[in-house]
């Protein structure tokens, strides 16, 4: 029990901060994923074949390639790519992106592919009459989207989004390879310096279980809120 006490002798406070870091990365990644979904879902539903192709290749590639490989691509290639772009604009200094941004972006791109599929499915299962009714009523585009389609879509999407959240939360453990101190990395450090890997990795597993359990409770409440009237 001494091992996880707070203060100088234990790893309790470090692990607590690390857990907060995991949550921060997961939420940031999820939001970045939504951003990607916002771009690619319309492309998937577009009439134009070429736009469909772009969106389909994004979701197929990202969902078919291991997460770790995507993280390595961004970890080793991220600053190179940014510097390349900066050089075009005449900035020649070395740019280093921190591990948080690299990690959150790479996980975000992965979770974005899953979110895109979820949103596409949700929009496609909304009754066609709803779209036609909006047309007939002559609603403005953004009212039509935010007041009619969005609420119905969210109700259908939330159960699947909770799966995406679980995947994203678990994927954050892979960022530990880039050196960002989240639960996995902190356990690795603690296990190394105390020579007690069994305890610390089991504790990490417990922390992840608690996080998934709590977020499921929260999402269930959200789901109830959005299913009012059904």
């Amino acid at each position: 029990m001494d091992l996880i006490s707070f203060g100088d002798n234990g790893w309790g406070d470090e692990l607590f901060v690390a857990a907060l870091m995991t949550i921060a990365v997961a939420i940031t990644a999820m939001l970045i994923g939504f951003l990607f979904a916002l771009i690619f879902t319309p492309l998937k539903l577009s009439k134009y074949k070429i736009l469909n192709l772009i969106a389909n290749s994004y979701t197929t590639v990202v969902r078919g390639v291991p997460e770790l490989l995507v993280i390595y691509l961004f970890f080793f290639g991220g600053s190179g790519a940014i510097m390349y772009v900066a050089q075009i604009f005449g900035y020649y200094d070395y740019i280093e992106i921190n591990a948080f941004i690299t990690g959150a972006t790479s996980i975000g791109i992965i979770s974005g592919a899953y979110s895109t599929e979820v949103f596409r499915g949700a929009i496609q299962s909304i009754d066609k009459g709803q779209f036609e009714a909006c047309h007939v009523l002559g609603l403005k585009k953004y009212i039509y989207f935010f007041k009619v389609i969005m609420p119905q879509m969210l109700r259908l999407a939330i159960p699947n989004l909770s799966n995406v959240w679980q995947i994203t939360l678990k994927d954050t453990s892979l960022i530990s390879v880039t050196g960002l101190v989240e639960i996995m990395r902190q356990s690795y450090i603690a296990a190394g310096s105390t020579r007690d890997p069994l305890f610390f990795y089991s504790f990490a597993a417990l922390l992840y279980l608690i996080l998934t359990f709590l977020s499921m409770k929260l999402i269930n409440r959200l789901e109830k809120n959005y299913s009012r009237g059904y």
Partner: protein, 224 residues
């Protein structure tokens, strides 16, 4: 774009594909057995037994695969007692540790897939078997299992692809699978894009094969 690097690293990555496929097939094989076993436990009327099976699948689905590998590879070696038993022969090899972790992980997902497949079987079919005087084992092996397999094919196809991606974590315990070799080439040449393209294409190609195999099986086992 460095074409030469692409040409020289392609055979290396192709060689590593063999390890990835070995890991994948071994863990799917053991995972299927575990999954079937725990799915049967889940359907047991005894709360304690079904609760145990639920706990297993909850824990393994609620924690990252990376933690599971690390517990088995780094953690179990710490127990003095284990080192003296025959289990140590297996547990000191990263290859077997990875397979154990993957099998337990995919077993948890498979048990959920099979359980829901068993639950969707209409009770009338089982009752029909019973009224024909077939015994329990016969009903289970000749009626329930074939229907459940057919029912769970699409979901199991997804699980195979997830597991394929999961095998990439074997590189964290020193195994040189596709991702392990890719990381090695990237960190020696600093050419992430080229290596990503080749390694990614190999994974996508395997995904493509699995996808079509499942499609073919689904067609083959459709109701006449």
């Amino acid at each position: 774009m460095d074409l030469e690097l692409i040409i020289t690293s392609f055979p290396k990555l192709l060689g590593a594909t063999l390890i990835t496929l070995k890991l994948l097939s071994a863990s799917l094989f053991f995972g299927l057995i575990l999954g079937l076993f725990f799915a049967i436990l889940r359907l047991n009327r005894n709360k304690l037994i079904s609760g145990f099976a639920y706990g297993y699948s909850y824990v393994f689905r609620g924690t990252p695969l990376l933690v599971q590998i690390f517990i088995i590879y780094f953690g179990l070696g710490q127990i003095e007692y284990l080192r003296s038993t025959f289990l140590w022969v297996i547990l000191k090899e990263p290859y077997w540790c990875a397979i154990i972790a993957f099998s337990l992980n995919t077993g948890a997902y498979t048990s959920e897939i099979l359980r829901s497949a068993f639950e969707t079987i209409k009770p009338g079919i089982i009752e029909a078997g019973r009224s024909l005087g077939l015994n329990k084992v016969f009903i289970f092996t000749k009626i329930q299992i074939p229907i459940a397999i057919k029912q769970s094919l699409p979901a199991y196809g997804n699980e195979i692809i997830l597991m394929l991606k999961g095998t990439s974590l074997a590189s964290t315990v020193t195994l040189m699978d596709i991702t392990g070799v890719a990381k090695f080439i990237i960190s020696t040449t600093f050419r992430p894009v080229e290596v990503f393209i080749i390694a990614g294409s190999i994974y996508l190609f395997i995904t493509f094969l699995v996808h079509n195999l499942i499609k073919y099986l689904e067609k083959k086992y459709r109701y006449q």
